[in-house]
């Protein structure tokens, strides 16, 4: 089943220095249960693409559908949870209350909120931190809380914009592992933007390599790695082969642009 489908999608920003082609003729299909990573240098439009899916930007050309609807309808149907690079937790709310925020907005009853919050706190391993304020948590824990918040209202699609970009390598490894387990347990479809080749290869069932100016897709790699992925799968020849292909794709994209 197709969750996201884009055909010759384009988005041009009008700026004072003339038009910027953030996306040009992007064709892409994301199927249910996929873990799709978008990788590419800054300005390749990977974040813009995610924001178009989320109805945070309007495309200027082409067609895109999310769950068979327009992005706006999908947003109104609360079809996806979005995780930003910064945790963006509200400092005046406890972790519990932060996770309950979308539920309050969507009108869930208070008993249902309590139940769902407890469930997702457990999913991200933060059960004992619900009563804490964000400043009392480490950066990695804050980001896990923000993932829990995106999971709280049970959307099938999770959009993640470099969620671990600001974290150190060790925390990032740990969170990658946890994210894979979470994906396996919840059967979500995940679109994941990243800068990191190992992260993209380790997490994804499908890797979309993009290049900048204009932002377009240069390669789509279907991962041949098994669904079960311990961290040391990153030393295997198969992993390195995929990583190599991603690197080649990134390099090819660069020779075009400059």
């Amino acid at each position: 089943m197709t969750v996201v489908s884009a055909q010759s999608l384009s988005l041009t920003f009008q700026t004072n220095d003339g038009p910027v082609h953030a996306l040009q003729d992007v064709d892409l299909t994301v199927s249910k249960g996929d873990f799709v990573s978008f990788i590419g240098p800054s300005g390749c439009g990977k974040t813009t693409f995610l924001r178009v899916i989320a109805d945070l930007e309007k495309p200027t050309g082409g067609v895109i559908s999310v769950n068979g609807m327009s992005p706006e309808e999908a947003r109104q149907a609360r079809a996806y949870g979005y995780v930003f690079q910064a945790a963006s937790l509200q400092p005046w709310r406890t972790i519990e209350k932060n996770i309950a925020l979308p539920l309050e907005i969507m009108g869930h009853s208070s008993s249902e909120r309590v139940e769902r919050v407890a469930k997702v706190l457990d999913l991200v391993d933060l059960s004992s931190f619900g009563k804490k304020y964000p400043w009392q948590l480490s950066g990695g824990m804050q980001q896990r809380a923000s993932i829990a918040r995106a999971l709280a209202f049970d959307a099938d699609l999770l959009l993640m914009d470099e969620p671990f970009g600001a974290l150190d390598e060790i925390v990032r490894d740990h969170l990658n592992e946890q994210l894979l387990q979470l994906w396996e347990r919840t059967d979500k479809t995940i679109c994941f933007v990243t800068h990191s080749i190992p992260e993209a290869v380790y997490l994804s069932t499908k890797i979309v390599v993009m290049s900048p100016r204009p932002g377009r897709v240069t390669d789509v790699i279907e991962s041949t790695l098994p669904k079960e992925r311990p961290l040391d799968i990153r030393e295997t020849p198969e992993f390195l082969k995929i990583a190599h292909r991603v690197r080649e794709g990134l390099r090819a994209g660069h020779s075009y642009s400059d």
């Binding site: 947003r75 609360r78 979005y82 910064a86 963006s88 509200q90 400092p91 005046w92 907005i105 969507m106």
Partner: protein
């Protein structure tokens, strides 16, 4: 920690100011003593005589601190609160106008800020007028407000309160516009992804984000509200209130009365600002502020 660190420097400055004040008392009140001695054809007073006499004049150019505080003591503790000569009575008159004006000003300021943040037309048009309003000297506007409202049959507390409002809404508008716009793009985008209504975004994001800005503005607003109320008492020849005391004191050369009203006003302002500060700390602590983050 920081409190005990501040006490000694603050007290040192206070001692310094009081010392200078006493020196000025002798210096500024001395000519009167010399004149008096000359009129009575007496020998010019010695310095030690001067120190005694300059601090005990009935209408000194500059009253000594102990004279001012004796006057304050006599007109607060020793007078019945209902007496027209009680400073507490006059302070209450001014305080009631201050508080009413402050409340109206705060409500008006918040309402304007909400409008400016949510309405493009207001965003483009209101702010220049808000700023212009504050460039007009309050001393010029105050008599007109009093006279116009009097002609409309409104007198007493409200006209004075409106002068306080005129001054106090300004910092609230400026602070709240900034505060309501404080949430960053990611936080606003997040609300958008939840398909939150404008009202939900306001109550669950913009309003709580603006609290630190609101209270900072309120501290300024409450202090200038008091100034507004005092100014409002002057042009009308008001019979009561700290402003009336100041005016009457200057008519009759009652410098001690002027200074005691002045001190009362300062104490009132300090108490109001401290009260807003306490509310500020209380609210922010309830909002889970990190300890030590509150200035």
């Amino acid at each position: 920690m920081s409190k005990s660190g501040k006490t000694i420097p603050v007290l040192t400055i206070l001692v310094f100011i009081v010392a200078i004040w006493y020196a000025c008392v002798v210096w500024m009140n001395a000519p009167f003593e010399f004149d008096k001695a000359e009129r009575l054809s007496k020998a010019a007073p010695t310095f030690s005589e001067l120190v005694n006499t300059t601090m005990a004049q009935e209408r000194p150019v500059l009253p000594a601190p102990h004279q001012v505080f004796r006057e304050i003591y006599e007109t607060t503790v020793l007078k019945k609160v209902t007496s027209k000569r009680s400073l507490v009575y006059h302070a209450w008159i001014t305080l009631s106008a201050t508080l009413l004006g402050f409340i109206i000003g705060t409500a008006l300021g918040i309402a304007l800020a909400v409008g400016i943040v949510h309405n493009r037309a207001m965003d483009k048009s209101v702010m220049p007028w808000v700023i212009t309003s504050q460039t007009i000297p309050i001393l010029a506007i105050a008599p007109m407000i009093i006279v116009v409202l009097n002609a409309a049959g409104i007198s007493g507390l409200l006209p004075k309160a409106l002068i306080s409002t005129y001054l106090s809404f300004f910092p609230v508008v400026v602070g709240m516009v900034k505060g309501l716009r404080a949430p960053d793009t990611a936080q606003l985008d997040l609300m958008h992804t939840y398909n939150a209504s404008t009202a939900q975004t306001f109550w669950k994001l913009r309003w709580p984000s603006s609290m630190p800005y609101l209270f900072t503005s309120l501290k300024i607003a409450v202090a200038i509200s008091l100034v507004g109320a005092i100014v409002g008492e002057m042009p009308t020849g008001a019979v009561a209130g700290l402003g009336a005391r100041l005016l009457a004191g200057s008519y009759y050369g009652q410098t001690i009365q002027i200074w005691s009203a002045l001190f009362m006003a300062a104490a009132l302002a300090a108490a109001l600002v401290i009260l807003v500060g306490v509310a500020h700390n209380y609210i922010l602590r309830r909002m889970g502020e990190k300890p030590g983050a509150i200035a």
